[in-house]
Symmetry: D2
Subunit: 151 residues, 4 copies
């Protein structure tokens, strides 16, 4: 991201969270980009993410998508909390696959945001979709007076 003065509000919101999430760190989930109401995150499927069938565990795909859901919400500078998230599993992901989750806010209300996340592999093939509902607290995520996150 660019100089502080050039950063968008979405980028500044994302920075308040980045580096503080142990699960993102452990799974190697990276934020590729963020803008107002949308985010792109990626994760490479490691051997430690496999289920008994040798495929990527659904919980790991969900975790990636849930993180993308959260960044989309945060990018709007609204404080809130995830209330609901539903995942459709489309096809398995294998060890070594690079998964990309693209989230976008489909409804942005004062009390509720609805978010869609599409997860694809490195060939652009769909792996899963997630639909999330967050409850907003009616106040900004960043305290504009000092740029601190209000949590």
């Amino acid at each position: 991201m660019g100089k502080e003065s050039e950063k968008t509000i979405a980028e500044r919101c994302a920075e308040r969270v980045l580096g503080k999430d142990r699960v993102m760190e452990n799974l190697g989930i990276e934020l590729q980009s963020v803008q107002d109401g949308a985010a792109v995150l990626s994760m490479t499927v490691g051997a430690e993410m496999l289920n008994s069938q040798g495929n990527c565990h659904g919980g790991m795909i969900f975790t990636l998508a849930d993180a993308a859901f959260a960044f989309a919400c945060i990018s709007c500078n609204q404080a809130g909390i995830g209330a609901y998230a539903a995942m459709d599993f489309i096809r398995p992901a294998a060890e070594g696959d690079i998964l990309t989750a693209r989230s976008s806010v489909r409804h942005r209300g004062s009390t509720v945001s609805l978010v869609e996340v599409l997860v694809e592999n490195q060939d652009g093939r769909p792996i899963a979709q997630l639909h999330g509902r967050s409850h907003n607290f009616g106040r900004p995520f960043l305290d504009e007076s000092d740029g601190q996150a209000v949590t």
Copy 2:
């Protein structure tokens, strides 16, 4: 579990999966019990499972519940695959909390099973609910001729 000859089919199905799931191992998810159409799993929230707010990451709660969903399906000796899973988040879980996920098959069809999972903490307070839909392949999970899992 008891001697081989005394084990239920549900227990024999579960054994085919136990110890082969890297994610369960990494997160310390333990199978407490399994019976026909139901399972109980537990997980202790470790520091590495926390999100940027210092609470248990939703993806980790989902992973526990998803595992309970899978064991409930497997316990019926039906081969299948998770198609859909929706989680309602009720309250946060904290580091050190011991989460218990109890799954039960609410509809058992030849092609579709519907499963409910309730996740509680050590005080019996509800943390989350999951509703899952699996698509069944119309054949048993165990090959009865030799007791091997058919995958």
Copy 3:
């Protein structure tokens, strides 16, 4: 229902709504019973409820289940509003089928209730399941001072 003095709170709550819902009236949806946290409603599939395939329209099955969801919420004497409802369709219903929807509150919180509804036909075969989430306003549905509904 019995004499006013003998009625349960659940019954008194339900009575505030009964007879005021035009859709229930038009579809012939009947409340069979209600108790704290649960309700049973029924509907006969009429010719006017059929889709282009000659089966009961999914929207009509949903409407029955949604009404059962609402009565389960109301029966707890909590004012609130339906936020989310998800339906799994299990098998078709035909003209003349008598559908019964049984709802039960699976989580009862101060701000959120989670409800499950099972819809069966006259042979006890499952037709659909609904999972609903209501947001509660933190006040009773009935005004206890005069028994009036607070809406």
Copy 4:
């Protein structure tokens, strides 16, 4: 729609269903447009669609959205059946409101399609969202040899 020879496959698919759905007829649900993977339907909220609060019954909004879900699926010339549909209610609709449901296929697979439907009122304000999952039978909806629907 135009002359038979000029009609798109999506339009020809839709015509096989139009006029045969009693619920669409009773509720005055109209197909405004259909193209490959998308449809627009509308409905005016009548007095007979109101719930006990005097708002449009959630089941009626669902029915409109479910119809839009179905037309999006049909427009792809894939035979299939709705397996799951989840509705987020955003704000109430009032008597006289003209609701428009816009559906689009977000994932089109050989066995599964995932569809999003947005419902708005005459002021363009969002009323509800629906996410649907259909199971496809792996054969076309239209029999290309004679243009008849295969059901």
